[in-house]
């Protein structure tokens, strides 16, 4: 057998069954009744999207004159992977014990972190994974850290309440977990917290961090946060960032 065929990284395209076949699976709903005309409409639409050989592999009547489709199509475009630059924060993350030592040596007091899912958001999986004692995937949460007082306010916390709490307990950092949904309603809620903290004169006194499956440092910048942690982040990543910032900003 020949060696496995290598992809040309200057011209990558989707992989389906064989390299460079360009196969893409997509799904959508059309506001038309289920039937042959609906399938034809779906195929024409996928063709207009620029895909070759569009095919309906599954369709379902959703009732009320709507039809759901799963489609295949061949992508004809390529991307030069070797020329991609994504701005990232490069930081050496400390382990839990190292963070604890760092606090003891460099900050010499307990630090306070308040966290919550704010606004209408009730998806606490993320904030719980970072804050709770038992943590996630073998990584203990902030509650377990010596030298960190972690206060998890739970879900659907109004921005006013998290700010009031942060003032009450003299928080060093606020951690907001938010699922940014397709309709982007949560974006306005994230920016409102920033604006309220500015109004209260707190923004430069508290480290403000957001986290969630669609968040990253680049979006955090746009939203007005100091950092944004996405999928694959653990408590020690957040803790490293917070303790470094406390020292860097002289908040000791």
């Amino acid at each position: 057998m020949e060696g496995i065929q290598k992809a040309d990284l200057t011209k990558i395209k989707p992989y389906g069954d064989t390299l460079n076949d360009g196969m893409v699976q997509m799904s959508f709903t059309l506001p038309v009744p289920y039937g042959d005309e609906a399938s034809e409409a779906a195929k024409q639409l996928v063709s207009k999207m620029g895909f070759e050989s569009p095919a309906v592999v599954f369709s379902k009547d959703l009732g009320v004159g709507y039809t759901y489709f799963i489609m295949y199509g061949k992508c004809t475009h390529t991307v030069d992977y070797t020329n991609i630059e994504v701005p990232k924060i490069t930081m050496e993350y400390m382990e839990r014990e190292e963070v604890e030592d760092y606090i003891k040596k460099n900050i010499k007091r307990d630090i306070v972190i308040v966290g919550a899912c704010t606004g209408t958001d009730a998806h606490t999986v993320g904030i719980d994974a970072i804050m709770n004692m038992k943590g996630f995937d073998g990584n203990y949460g902030l509650e377990r850290y010596k030298g960190i007082e972690a206060i998890n306010m739970g879900s659907q916390v109004p921005n006013e309440e998290i700010i009031a709490k942060a003032i009450e307990v003299k928080a060093d950092a606020i951690l907001v977990s938010q699922v940014v949904t397709q309709k982007n309603v949560h974006i306005a809620n994230l920016t409102q917290l920033v604006e309220m903290m500015e109004a209260e004169g707190l923004r430069d006194k508290i480290i403000l961090i957001c986290g969630g499956p669609r968040l990253n440092h680049e979006l955090a910048q746009e939203l007005g946060y100091d950092a944004g942690f996405g999928t694959g982040s653990y408590a020690n990543h957040v803790a490293t960032f917070v303790v470094n910032q406390i020292v860097e900003r002289n908040m000791i």
Partner: protein, 342 residues
């Protein structure tokens, strides 16, 4: 008079561009102002509280306008964004201000090209950076806002602001008009009397002012949760109540329960501190709520983007005419299709 001429004539040195939503046309407005300044040979400095000049929107993934800078312009941006820019620049200063995108540096453009910008996210750092841009030679500094963040338009940070609004706010044009009018109303609140300002400046905390000019400070950590305590201290002798910081719906509701509130004046720092529900605000204003500000925000113009990336648009003439009706005293500019003709 053209927008840039108004800026020069009033000696505004820092101008913020704030949007009422994402994709309301902030960057188009910024580009428009840059171009106008270049035509008049005005040296500009630019920065952003968010991200600017990136190819695609971070949230909606739609195409975004590029920012073209020319030789001699000054820019404050995070180091890493320079690598993503085609403009060539000389680094004048590293500010030590850290952002999620890296440290903010100040540059002078040496060779024209497109640039990506990510400036300081906090209003305090922004004030410092604007000062530095002026120090190096920028006659006017433009600060582009991000999403719907408006804190940089506070008179504590910038001299004047341009408000970008558009179809993206709502499919219903009435709502677009209503939200825009509210934003302009908050900015343009009447300034309070000088003698009251003096009392407030001395106390510099949330306080209740009586007819003899005495100010009493309630025992609260923040006005956000202090509504009830403040309300209890308002009596028939009260003439003014000053709220430091954020004015929320809950706070306003608690104050409103005090029957004396209708006769007195509520004083806030400036329009960026208002976080109340629009309907509630409008109803209370109709019933006699009087609000004044320590600092009024100079709104130079409202710019319109009649197109929403969600796939609908308004007739730009109709939108402009209606906007003129609700905001008769404000300059309205359609930066997408028209520009500023007079």
């Amino acid at each position: 008079m053209r927008l840039i001429e108004t800026i020069k004539q009033n000696n505004y040195e820092t101008v913020s561009i704030i949007g009422l939503a994402k994709n309301a046309g902030k960057t188009v407005t910024l580009n428009y102002l840059i171009e106008e300044a270049i035509n008049l040979n005005i040296k500009t400095g630019i920065t952003s509280t968010g991200r600017d000049g990136e190819n695609t929107d971070l949230v909606t993934k739609i195409q975004k306008p590029a920012i073209l800078v020319t030789e001699g312009m000054y820019v404050a941006t995070a180091k890493k964004t320079l690598m993503l820019s085609t403009a060539k620049a000389e680094i004048l200063e590293t500010t030590g201000i850290s952002t999620a995108m890296g440290e903010v540096i100040i540059i002078r453009v040496r060779q024209k090209g497109n640039i990506q910008i990510a400036g300081p996210v906090t209003a305090k750092d922004m004030k410092y950076v604007a000062e530095r841009l002026k120090h190096y030679g920028a006659e006017v500094v433009f600060i582009d806002g991000a999403i719907d963040r408006k804190a940089v338009s506070s008179p504590a940070i910038t001299d004047a602001c341009v408000i970008a609004t558009g179809a993206v706010l709502s499919r219903d044009m009435k709502k677009v008009l209503e939200k825009t009018a509210h934003a302009v109303e908050c900015c343009s609140l009447t300034g309070t009397d000088e003698h009251v300002k003096n009392i407030v400046r001395k106390v510099n905390k949330t306080c209740i002012i009586s007819e003899e000019g005495k100010a009493v400070v309630p025992d609260i950590k923040t006005s956000i949760t202090g509504g009830k305590k403040i309300s209890e201290m308002i009596d028939e002798k009260t003439t003014h109540v000053f709220i430091k910081g954020a004015v929320t719906s809950a706070l306003l509701k608690e104050l409103w329960e005090n029957k004396y509130l209708r006769g007195i004046k509520l004083i806030i720092e400036d329009g960026t501190k208002i976080f109340t529900d629009i309907n509630m605000w409008n109803e209370m204003r109709k019933k006699g709520l009087k609000v004044e500000a320590m600092n009024t925000i100079n709104v130079l113009a409202v710019t319109l983007n009649p197109i929403s990336p969600e796939g609908y648009f308004f007739d730009s003439e109709v939108l402009k005419e209606n906007m003129k009706k609700v905001l008769p005293r404000i300059k309205i500019v359609d930066v997408v299709s028209g520009g500023d003709e007079d």
